[in-house]
């Protein structure tokens, strides 16, 4: 009888909440440290930060622990926490050319200036269960690290910046869009509700905190054939970009830290606008290392800018309204709320309709 707020409901609800916390701690293993989550489940942390729309690795790790590994709930908590923080200002635009790159690949060209930097990725691993990990301990980790770093040259030079592949295409007039600072006023989606057609910067903001799975679904529907734009991954990079803000008094730019992001630029089929066939660009950027999301975002960015939407993934309104995991999960879960009143009203209508149908049957028989 704990489901509805009749007598005894409050007490039952309290206990359900405590029972949820208890599920996490009832086993024999020691408490999971937030630091362990942050360091060893970092991809989950990245995902939660991205979907929550708040770059805060410690808080994201805490949320992930508290939510027992549910990324929807964890992102939700992070976004709710965000609502408690004052908006102090906007950071300055930054060129991702200045990214401190840990991974950077292009699938459009075999070799690119600066080289293909594979970096840390599971892409090339065999997805075979590694039973050695069952016996994970400090000695094994130490040995692994020693092997990894044994034959590395200590004085290897790391370039400070990497040229953008699409910039090269752009210079040659192969890309439709020019690289330019947006002239339109920034539409802050955390302060205003979307209107359609949404300006591109609002669409990109919405997608940047969209739910990975939802965005993948829509992007995949396009890749499979429902409006395929034939994307090629011009460049994908993962790394750290400086966070720069204007000084509140002097207005001088100050770098106050860095943020790990994944950036994807897809180049899609030429359109022959203005008589000149060209490639067009789709852009994706999200917090942390989340390559599926960045690529999906880039594909959807390109899809939703189609002149004549022919399928869901090309319909900007359809995409932007349905990719937010926190809104979607909240509404999905709301069906568990009591709907007794609504249902009673439904029942009334149904019974009345049946009664009329029966009367008509009687008349027909008679």
């Amino acid at each position: 009888m704990g489901y509805v707020a009749v007598k005894g409901g409050t007490e039952a609800i309290e206990r359900a909440c405590r029972l949820f916390a208890h599920e996490r701690m009832k086993g024999e293993s020691g408490p999971l440290e937030v630091k362990q989550v942050k360091e060893q489940l970092y991809l989950a942390v990245d995902r939660v930060m991205g979907e929550g729309g708040l770059y805060a690795p410690d808080l994201a790790a805490l949320a992930f622990k508290q939510a027992a590994g549910d990324t929807f709930e964890a992102s939700f908590m992070l976004r709710a926490y965000r609502a408690t923080q004052a908006r102090l200002g906007y950071s300055l635009p930054v060129s991702t050319e200045r990214m401190r790159v840990v991974r950077r690949i292009s699938s459009a060209f075999k070799d690119i200036p600066g080289g293909q930097i594979l970096g840390p990725t599971s892409d090339y691993t065999l997805r075979l269960l590694d039973f050695d990990l069952l016996e994970d301990d400090d000695a094994r980790r130490k040995a692994f690290r020693e092997r990894l770093f044994a034959d590395l040259p200590a004085d290897a030079e790391i370039p400070g910046t990497f040229p953008k592949v699409v910039a090269i295409l752009r210079r040659e007039g192969l890309l439709a869009e020019a690289a330019s600072m947006p002239t339109e006023e920034l539409f802050d989606i955390t302060r205003r509700s979307l209107t359609f057609p949404a300006p591109r910067n609002a669409a990109l903001q919405t997608m940047a905190r969209g739910e990975t799975g939802g965005m993948l679904l829509l992007a995949y529907s396009s890749m499979r054939g429902y409006g395929n734009i034939h994307p090629i991954l011009g460049e994908l990079r993962v790394g750290y970009i400086p966070l720069t803000v204007p000084h509140p008094v002097t207005g001088e730019p100050y770098t106050i830290g860095e943020v790990k992001v994944t950036e994807a630029e897809v180049v899609a089929r030429f359109e022959g606008k203005n008589g000149m066939p060209q490639f067009s660009l789709g852009y994706g950027l999200c917090f942390g290392q989340n390559e599926i999301k960045a690529i999906s975002m880039a594909v959807l960015d390109r899809c939703t800018r189609s002149d004549q939407p022919s399928c869901p993934a090309e319909d900007q309104e359809y995409v932007l309204y349905h990719i937010d995991g926190i809104e979607a999960m909240g509404f999905c879960n709301h069906w568990k709320l009591p709907h007794y009143v609504d249902f009673l009203s439904d029942l009334d209508r149904l019974r009345k309709a049946q009664k009329i149908a029966r009367q008509e049957e009687c008349h027909a028989d008679a």
Partner: protein, 300 residues
């Protein structure tokens, strides 16, 4: 190897409980799964260009990374096979390296980069430059098995269109393309008609490679793991790219381009951005062939 020989050989081979170091059966998949793949291949060979649905298994490599090709390769290879794997023409590219590592771990075959000495070649998006023989099999990885997907998103509908050879929308698409762009704008994955019947997606090979499918000595097998389809072009089969009398199919133009390494001027080239100024260099996309030519030049 001939079919009869292969079948006899396969029966005589030790079963899957032979003591392998990996703890996985030879060829990773269970014998039933491998048999299913082989049966699907036989059907595909019997109906050239027809997409045979099959129960695609989960490989420890992600969908879209060549799992269809891998399942075909694993169901065919024997310990004495010599395998070559290429990705966009290159033996050392990530996808090829990854697949070789896996196949070697579970089937322990010899690996080569030489097209001539391979018995089975698995490829992503290229056909080797050197002509292949009747003794060899080329396994192509396929992301989109459906050539009609461009004009019809629904699988139920494209299957009907194939069954009725109702290809008018495809031809109309090509016609409209010509009206819009002055010529057919399909770059790679150029649709072909196989044996005068089915329109088929040749996998994302460049147009350069399409003529190599026509009346070839070699068996071509196409595997689409994610979409769960296998299809084939048997040796000596007519394979014709879709074209109009007044708008003929054309391969990529590399006139005046020479490989900066081996000097070849008759191969499909990779364009490399040499520096930030955007200067371009050209190299053979088929790295095995380039190595061979480069070695010969340097020995003489």
């Amino acid at each position: 190897m001939q079919m009869r020989e292969w079948l006899d050989h396969n029966d005589a081979r030790p079963g899957e409980d032979d003591d392998r170091a990996t703890g996985y059966p030879f060829g990773f998949m269970d014998e039933g799964a491998k048999r299913e793949v082989r049966r699907s291949i036989l059907k595909a060979v019997a109906i050239p260009g027809y997409q045979v649905p099959y129960g695609s298994r989960e490989m420890p490599i992600a969908r879209g990374w060549g799992t269809g090709g891998i399942q075909i390769t694993l169901s065919l290879v024997l310990p004495e096979d010599v395998l070559k794997v290429i990705d966009q023409g290159c033996d050392g590219s990530v996808n090829a390296v990854n697949i070789k590592k896996f196949v070697q771990a579970v089937a322990d075959v010899e690996i080569t980069t030489d097209t001539r000495s391979a018995t089975v070649i698995q490829t992503r998006h290229r056909i080797p430059e050197e002509p292949m023989t009747a003794e060899q099999i080329l396994v192509l990885q396929v992301p989109y098995p459906e050539a009609l997907r461009e004009v019809e998103p629904s699988e139920a509908e494209t299957r009907r269109m194939h069954a009725e050879a109702d290809y008018s929308r495809m031809w109309l698409f090509l016609y409209e393309d010509i009206v819009k762009y002055g010529e057919i704008s399909i770059s790679y994955r150029f649709p072909v008609t196989v044996n005068g019947r089915y329109i088929m997606d040749p996998s994302p090979i460049p147009r350069w490679d399409v003529p190599k499918l026509h009346m070839a000595d070699t068996l071509f097998l196409f595997g689409a793991g994610r979409e769960k389809r296998i299809y084939a072009i048997p040796p000596h089969t007519r394979v014709e790219p879709l074209e109009f009398e007044d708008h003929l199919f054309r391969v990529e133009d590399f006139s005046g381009k020479v490989c900066a390494r081996c000097g070849a001027s008759d191969t499909f080239m990779d364009e490399i951005i040499d520096n930030e100024a955007g200067e371009r260099l050209y190299y053979c996309s088929d790295s095995g062939y380039c190595d061979k030519r480069y070695g010969q030049c340097n020995n003489h």
